[in-house]
């Protein structure tokens, strides 16, 4: 289990989190939502060893994540960043196989594992595996970056706004893929989403963050209520019940 224990974090003299204790449920899909500047990304970075808490601990199965090696952590927790920059051309296969680095290390041969081929097949990227990543469509590229993270064989997969740069078709396709990874492989997923309806549709748990506080945490329909949304986002909306579950409609 991955959790924060009484974490304090401030940035440039501004206190962001105060004695925060929070656990991410295993084998579930947890979505973090909240307005810009609420601390969502900071929370993410604290959980994925991107930044250090001022005080308090971040625990992975009871162990302080800053006391284990970064390689060991990378074998268990993977992160798909919001902005994925490539500074030079690289083939799809070569990028995904870099996910084996935590296992093989800098002097190892990344081609030794069959994992890369498995992932290419699972993500339906076999037809493009020798193409340059820059030649792919946005949806395919996002799958490639997902593939890189999956090559780390993580137990926890974090996704920072993974659908921001995708069109509707690819957004749905990607989220369905994420859900499948969770349901079939038991992968613990934690993602930041801006689209509240997507959060409703694809999450087991939702955490609503505002001004560095956890405003609400629990089942999606319990967290994403009209009142909570108005408090957090300042937007009046309407939650409509349908057979498929609730939908948020903005006024």
């Amino acid at each position: 289990m991955l959790s924060l224990e009484q974490v304090n974090f401030s940035y440039q003299n501004q206190q962001i989190f105060n004695e925060l204790t929070l656990a991410i449920a295993d084998n579930k899909i947890t979505t973090i939502v909240g307005p810009n500047g609420s601390g969502k990304s900071t929370l993410f970075k604290l959980l994925t060893r991107g930044i250090r808490p001022n005080t308090g601990r971040v625990l992975l199965d009871g162990k302080d994540i800053w006391k284990i090696s970064s390689r060991e952590f990378a074998q268990r927790v993977a992160l798909v960043h919001q902005k994925n920059e490539l500074f030079d051309e690289i083939k799809v296969r070569d990028l995904i196989k870099m996910g084996r680095l935590p296992y093989q290390g800098l002097m190892g041969n990344l081609d030794e594992s069959k994992k890369t081929d498995e992932i290419l097949a699972a993500l339906e990227l076999n037809s493009v595996k020798d193409k340059l990543v820059s030649e792919l469509s946005g949806g395919q590229q996002q799958r490639v970056w997902l593939g890189l993270s999956l090559a780390q064989e993580p137990e926890y997969l974090f996704l920072d706004e993974p659908t921001t740069y995708l069109d509707l078709h690819f957004q749905v396709q990607f989220l369905q893929l994420i859900k499948k990874l969770n349901r079939e492989n038991g992968l613990t997923i934690c993602m930041i989403l801006h689209d509240l309806n997507q959060a409703l549709r694809y999450s087991d748990q939702v955490i609503l963050v505002k001004d560095g506080e956890i405003e609400s945490k629990g089942l999606p329909e319990e967290v994403l209520t009209q009142d909570n949304i108005r408090d957090a986002f300042g937007i009046d909306c309407h939650v409509i019940e349908t057979e498929r579950g609730p939908i948020i409609e903005q006024f």
């Binding site: 960043h81 500074f87 030079d88 690289i90 820059s134």
Partner: protein, 310 residues
């Protein structure tokens, strides 16, 4: 792709052998490879052979140095010559030579040290990913170091024309070791294609990778400059041609740079000393004539392509 790699590399080896044969037999005095007189043998062994070896190793070293600079700075036009690293090496070598004119190993080490100093200044500007801005910093550094060198009255004490077995041997030993290390660590250059954040997520240290690659590049550039003088542009031209021919895998590019760089510098040097014999056009000068327009061409084609990101 593999067939093409084999074809290109084989072609380069053939070109290299042919050019070596040509270099051995041409110059201010004509010699043949058969029926050698004592004087011929002397010229070949003591004048041409060290020069040929120096050109080969320096060409390979400077090309690989350019390649690693490009990987580390994430910039397709980075290279030690352009960015003042070679000029710094030249300057420091001059400084050392003022005090110890014949202590060659010391000169070489000091030149490498100078290259490292320039490199340390440069990495302060690492944030500059924009190729155009980086050029300005490099040119400025280049101007400073070259200017100081000229004030000290340096005639660039070493060049390919003054190659002796002393300079050639040191260059070969350090150069070959450096090139072997570069071949082993070539894959690291591929890892820097993703962002620092991504590498950290993979449990790796981008700073360390970058530092090691730059150090290899700086040492290769430093020892080359100490032996054959400041030579620019080859570190940009060779890797760029390599990318056009063989793609963007750094393992392939390092091999290509070694073969193509060695051949190319030997070719330029040999042309330089035969085209206007008995006068010589220095390899650095010829390269500048070729390199300048080539650089502009590369910059224009980069500008058209724009920035790449996923």
């Amino acid at each position: 792709m593999k067939k093409r790699t084999i074809f290109v590399n084989t072609l380069l080896i053939v070109l290299l052998i042919v050019t070596i044969a040509w270099a051995l037999t041409s110059g201010a005095s004509k010699t043949k490879l058969t029926d050698l007189s004592n004087q011929d043998l002397n010229i070949i062994l003591n004048i041409r052979l060290p020069r040929i070896c120096s050109a080969i190793i320096a060409g390979a070293a400077l090309s690989v140095a350019g390649l690693f600079f490009q990987a580390a700075f994430r910039n397709p036009i980075a290279e030690p010559g352009l960015m003042g690293v070679s000029a710094a090496a030249g300057l420091f070598q001059t400084l050392f030579a003022l005090v110890f004119p014949t202590f060659f190993i010391g000169k070489t080490l000091f030149a490498t040290f100078g290259a490292i100093v320039a490199f340390l200044i440069l990495i302060q500007f690492q944030k500059l990913l924009d190729p155009f801005r980086l050029i300005i910093v490099g040119v400025a550094l280049n101007a400073v170091f070259t200017g100081i060198s000229q004030i000290l009255g340096a005639n660039n004490s070493s060049s390919l024309a003054t190659s002796t077995w002393t300079s050639a041997l040191i260059l070969c030993i350090i150069g070959i070791i450096g090139l072997i290390v570069a071949l082993i660590l070539a894959e690291w250059a591929n890892y820097l294609k993703v962002s620092d954040k991504q590498l950290s997520s993979l449990g790796m240290s981008p700073k360390m990778i970058r530092l090691v690659l730059l150090l290899i590049g700086v040492i290769l550039a430093g020892v080359s400059t100490a032996s054959v003088g400041v030579i620019s542009f080859i570190g940009i031209i060779i890797p760029q041609v390599g990318r056009q021919l063989l793609g963007h895998d750094y393992q392939k590019l390092v091999t290509f740079s070694v073969l193509a760089g060695s051949w190319f510098l030997l070719l330029i040097d040999t042309i330089g000393r035969t085209i206007a014999a008995p006068n010589e056009i220095a390899a650095g000068v010829l390269l500048a004539i070729v390199g300048g327009p080539a650089m502009i061409g590369i910059l224009l084609s980069l500008n058209r392509k724009g920035k790449r990101h996923a």
